[in-house]
Amino acid sequence: MPVVSWMRRPSALIAVVACLYSVTVWTQARPAAPAPTPHDRVEAAHEDMARDAVDRGRDAARLTNAVVPPAGPAVPLRAVPRRNVIDEIVFARIAKDRVPHAGLSSDDEFVRRLYFDVIGLPPSSAEVRAFIADPAADKRDRLIDLLLARDEFAEQWAWYWGDLLRMSNEAGPGANAFHYWFKEQLAVDRPYDRLVHDVLTPSAKVHATIPSLAIIGRSNQLKSRFVESVDDYRISNRLDHVDALTIDVSRVFLGINTSCISCHDGALHLEAVNGYLADRTRDEFFAMSAFFGKTRLIGNWNDKSRNVDRDLHVDDLAGGYDGGNDAPFLTLAESQFPRPKGSHEPAFILTGEKPRAGAEPRAELARMITAHPQFARATANLLWGRLMAVAFVEPHDAFDMNRLSGKNAQPTSVELLEALAGEFTTNGFRLKRTIRTILQSSTYQLSARFPGQWKDDYIPYYSRHFARVLTGPEVIDAVSTVTGVPMAFQMGGQTMTRVKQLATPQDIGRGAEGVTVDALMQSFFQSNRRTPPQTGNRPSTLQALLMMKSTVVNDRVTVAAGGRVAELVASARTGDEIIDELYLSTMARTPAPAERDVARRTLAVDRARGTEDLLWALLNSPEFLVNR
C-alpha cells in the first residue's frame, strides 16, 4: 500500500528492503549524495508504494509457524482472566470460533517483554529477581505503571514516532528540538490531539524556534545540492512542498496514504489497491492540500554555500492553492503531472467539510483531523501494532475507508479496533492511557509459546503473543546495558549512552563506534528516516554475521572492557552466581539444568574466558534477539 513520500530532493538515500544482508555504513558526512534520492514526489510516491508492497505482510504469516509438540493440555480460556474490553472481545471471538490459544505468559516472559516494549531496554538481573519474587497479585499492573513513568518510555516511543514522521538530520536543528519536545509531550501524556494541533498550526520566522514546527519545516523538501542559483527551478515548488506535507499528515494522523492521488485520480490505478482511494480524485487531494494553501515556506538562500539553508520561514501569507501559481519553479513531479490552472478551496477529504469563515485553515485542519473517528482508529492501530507485532491494518497507512467493516473488512478485528479507538477518544486522546490498557490486558500478556500446531489463520485472533525481533536501537542499547559498557555518542556537547537518547539515526556519528553501530542497527532494519521505514521484525544472516563479528559485541564482552564481565570475574561470586547473573540479565531467567551444566564446564576451564564466552553466546542467542 502506498506510503507517503518525504523526499523531493537529492540527498543520501539508503534503501533497506527485503531480507537484507549487508554491511552498510551511513554517516553524516558521506560524499555528496552517494546515491540519489527520488528527486521528486512522483518517484518517491511510487517508491514508497512499491517498497511497502514488497515488504508488507512478507513475514506476517511467518511470525508463528512452528511445529511444536503439545506441551500438555491446553489452558482453558475461562482460566485466563478478562481484564478489560480488549479481552472481552478477543476471547469471545476465540471461544466462538474455537481457535486454540496460548496460556498466560510466565513472569519471566512477561517481565522481559514488558521492559522491551515499554522502555526498549532489558530488565537488570536485580529487577528480574525482584519481580519474580514479588508475591503481590497486582505486581504486573504495578510494573506497567512503573515503566510507563520512566524517562526511557518517552525515549523509546519518541524514537518510534521519529521513524514514523521521518525526522532525520535533514530537518536540521529542528530535529533535535522536535525530539525533545515530543519526549516532553509523551512524558506528561499530553493529549495527542493537542500535539497534532501544535504540529500543524505554528508560524515562525525561523522554523527551528518552535519545536513542533519541525514537521512543516522539514527542509529536505527544499534543499538541493544541485541548485545553481536562487532562480534554479529545482529549488522549490511551493505547492509540491505543501502537497508532500499533506501526504505526511494524512499518512501518520489518519492512516491514509494519499500520495497516489496527489498526482492522478484513483480511478484506473487503485482499484486493486484501495477501494476508497480508487474513488478519490486529484481535485479532492488538492482541496485537502489547500489547507496549507496560504502557507509560505521560504528557504533562506545562502550565497556562500550556494544553496538553500535548512532554516525556513513559515507563515500564512501566500495567496492560496492555485495550480497556476508558483511556476516557473518546477519540479519533475510538476512537469510530469502539471497541476491544472485554477485555485482550490480547502475541503477535508474524509467529509468534504470546509473551514469555518474567518478561521485559520491550518487550525481548522487540525480540528477536523482530530475530530474524525479515523484519527483515533489510526492511532489505536499504531499503538496496537507496536505492542502486539501485528497491527489491525498493516502497514499503518494502508487504511481503506471502504473496508472498515463488513464482509471484506480490512482490520484483523473490526470490533477491537473500534473499541480501542473509542477508548482512546474517551480517555482524551492520551497515548499512555491506551498503551496501559493494552498492556494490562490478558491478550497482551498471553505467552508466545503456543501449544500445538499453529496456523497462520489464527493470526487475527491474537490467540498468542507474537514474538518479534528486537529493533536496531533496542539491540544496541540492550548489548551496551547488559555488558555494562555504555555507548558514547556525542550530541550537542553531551555524551549520550543510549541510541534512543539521540534525536535521529544520523546522530550516531562518525566515530569508530558510529560506523559499527550503524551497520548493526541497519541489519536490524533501522531506517535512516529519509526513506520509508522498512518492515523490521525479521532475522537475517547479516545480523548473525555482525552479532558474531562486530566490535560492538566482541569488544564489550571482554574483561578488558571493564564492564559487567570484569566486575563479575573480579568479584567473589561463584561460578553458578555468575551464570545466574548472565542468564537473568540477558534472558530474564535462570538457566535450565542442561544449560547450567554446559555453562559450568565453560567457566571451570577458565573463569574469565568462560564468562566472556558465555556472555557472548547469550548475546548471540535467538532468545536474546527476539522479544517474546
Binding site: Y21, P36, A66, T541, E595, W616
Partner: protein, 467 residues
C-alpha cells in the same frame, strides 16, 4: 542439513504428519511448501554459462551518448567518436578501453521498458518483471530464482551463498528478497565500502576465539531447540542464519574475497562500483558456491542536467570512464582465470550483462540533460557463450524509435527477456511456472503478459546473442 531441493518433495501435509519433528528449517520454513512446478520442458535452455554477473547501471545510462551513439548539435567536440566496427560508433574519450574491446561484447539496442520511474524500473531490473504491488511481497529477485534453481548443483564444500549482490541497499528499490522462495535464496548484499575492512585481512586469530565461542553457542542452542521453536518461526530461523554465517566466517576462502591489491584498485577504480566488480571477480575465483552476482553500480547515470558538464560532480565523462575501466578489467581478469571445463576460461563460463532500467530522452532538456525514456535503450552482454561483436537491433537517427527489433519477434525485448536469456545461459528452464504461490497466481519464470503494457510479451530469450 540437506539443502538440496528437488521437485519431488512430500506435500506439506505429509511433512507435518511426521509431526513433532523440528524439521530442518532450511526447507520447511515460513511460507514455503513444496512448489508445484508446471509448464516444464517447453524451453530449451542453452546452458553455455556457469555463472552470471549482472551489472545494473543504475539511474539509466544514456544510449545515444554511449553504445547507440547519435551525433547531435549538443554532442561535445571532445568525444573523439570512431567507428569501431560497421555501424558501431563509440566515443574514445568516454570508453577508451572498451573501444578496443568491442569485439568481445555484444549489444542489444532495441530494449524497451514499461516504466519511467526509477523505483519501478529498478525493481523490474532486479526482479525481471514489472511491479505488481498486489503480489509484490511474494515475487523473488531473479537472482533468488537462480539460487533456487542452481541449489541442486551445490557441492558439499560450497559455503558461499549462490546469490550475492553488491551495493544493492543503495539501490532505489533496495535489495528485493526471495519472495515465496525459501529464505536461503535471498541474496547476501555486500557494501563494498565496508566489507573489505570487515571481512578481509587475517582472520585466524579472531576465528580461533570465534570457533570456541561457536561451540558453546551450538551446545546451548541444541538444548534450547524446543524453546526456540515455541517462540515461533523467527526464533527458529535464527539458527539457520547463524549456521550460514558461521560457515562463512570460518571458511578460509571468505577473507580472500575481500582482498584488493593496489593494482586491482587502480585498474578497476577504488569506488563502490570498481570494488563491487573486484568482489565479483574474487567471489567467482574462490569457487565456493557463488554463481550469481548482482553488481549495483550506484545510480550515477541519472543525468537530468549537465550530462556533459565537466563542472558537475557526476557527469557523463566520469560515469563512462568509471564503467569503462571496471568493465574491461573484469573482462580481462575473468578471461585470464580458468573455468571449470577444460580449455574454458572463467569468462567463457560467465555471462556478463550491463543494463539499465530504461533509456534517456533523445532530445536534450533545458538544463542540458536527458530525461527518462522507455522507447528504446541498450544493454551490453559478454561472456558465457555470447558472440562478441554482435550488435542486435537498430534505432532511428535520434534513437527515439526502434527500427529493427534485433531478434525474431516484431516487438522489442524487455528486461524480462534479458532474464530469460540469463536463465537460458545458466541452463534454467525459463518457461517454467510455479502454481502454488501464496496468492494463488501462477508465477511464471518469465512473464507472458506485461503488467501495465498493452500487449502480450514474448517470453523468449534473446537467442541471437549467442554464437
Amino acid at each position: 542439513m540437506d539443502r538440496r531441493l528437488n521437485d519431488i518433495i512430500p506435500s506439506r501435509r505429509d511433512a507435518l504428519r511426521w509431526g513433532g519433528l523440528a524439521l530442518a528449517s532450511t526447507w520447511v520454513d515460513g511460507l514455503v511448501w513444496p512448489l508445484q512446478i508446471s509448464a516444464q520442458g517447453k524451453s530449451t535452455p542453452r546452458g553455455t554459462a556457469r555463472n552470471c554477473i549482472f551489472i545494473e547501471l543504475g539511474g539509466a545510462i544514456s544510449p545515444m551518448d554511449t553504445w547507440d551513439f547519435k551525433e547531435t548539435r549538443w554532442t561535445p567536440q571532445d568525444l573523439d567518436v570512431t567507428e569501431v566496427s560497421k555501424g558501431l560508433y563509440l566515443s574514445q574519450t568516454l570508453f577508451p578501453q572498451l573501444a578496443k574491446n568491442m569485439s568481445r561484447v555484444a549489444l542489444v539496442r532495441s530494449l524497451q521498458a514499461p516504466e519511467l520511474i526509477h523505483f519501478n524500473g529498478q525493481y523490474h531490473t532486479q526482479v525481471g518483471r514489472s511491479l505488481n504491488p498486489a503480489i509484490a511481497r511474494e515475487i523473488p529477485a531473479f537472482g533468488s530464482v537462480v539460487a533456487f534453481e542452481l541449489a541442486k548443483q551445490r557441492r558439499e564444500r560450497d559455503t558461499f551463498p549462490t546469490y550475492i549482490s553488491t551495493n544493492l541497499t543503495k539501490a532505489r528499490a533496495g535489495s528485493i528478497g526471495a519472495g515465496f522462495l525459501p529464505t536461503w535464496t535471498t541474496g547476501l548484499d555486500l557494501d563494498p565500502s565496508t566489507v573489505f575492512a570487515a571481512f578481509g585481512g587475517d582472520m585466524s586469530g579472531a576465528n580461533q576465539v570465534l570457533s570456541e565461542r561457536w561451540r558453546l553457542l551450538t551446545e546451548l542452542a541444541r538444548i534450547n531447540e524446543g524453546q526456540r521453536a515455541a517462540m515461533g518461526q523467527k526464533a527458529a530461523d535464527y539458527q539457520t542464519f547463524y549456521d550460514d554465517a558461521y560457515k562463512l566466517l570460518t571458511d578460509a576462502r571468505w577473507p580472500q574475497v575481500f582482498t584488493a591489491s593496489a593494482d586491482d584498485k587502480q585498474r578497476y577504480g577504488d569506488d563502490e562500483f570498481g570494488l563491487g566488480c573486484i568482489l565479483a571477480r574474487n567471489l567467482l575465483g574462490q569457487n565456493a558456491g557463488t554463481r550469481m552476482i548482482y553488481v549495483y553500480d550506484g545510480d550515477r547515470w541519472d543525468h537530468h542536467s549537465g550530462i556533459f558538464d565537466k563542472q558537475a560532480e557526476w557527469n557523463h565523462y566520469r560515469t563512462c570512464q568509471r564503467l569503462d575501466k571496471a568493465l574491461v578489467s573484469l573482462l580481462d581478469d575473468l578471461a585470464a582465470m580458468p573455468g571449470q571445463a577444460p580449455g574454458k576460461t572463467m569468462l567463457d563460463e560467465t555471462l556478463i550483462v550491463a543494463q539499465s532500467e530504461f533509456g534517456r530522452t533523445p532530445g536534450m532538456n533545458p538544463v542540458a540533460g536527458r530525461d527518462h525514456y522507455k522507447g528504446a535503450y541498450t544493454g551490453l552482454y559478454a561472456g558465457g557463450g555470447v558472440a562478441g561483436g554482435r550488435v542486435l537491433g537498430k534505432t532511428d537517427a535520434d534513437g527515439s524509435t526502434c527500427l529493427d527489433t534485433g531478434w525474431r519477434h516484431k516487438s522489442q525485448p524487455f528486461m524480462d527477456n534479458t532474464v530469460a536469456t540469463i536463465y537460458s545461459a545458466l541452463g534454467i528452464d525459463w518457461k517454467k511456472s510455479v502454481d502454488n504461490t501464496p496468492s494463488g497466481r501462477a508465477y511464471h519464470y518469465v512473464d507472458t503478459v506485461n503488467l501495465g503494457g498493452s500487449a502480450m510479451m514474448e517470453s523468449d530469450e534473446i537467442g541471437d546473442l549467442f554464437a
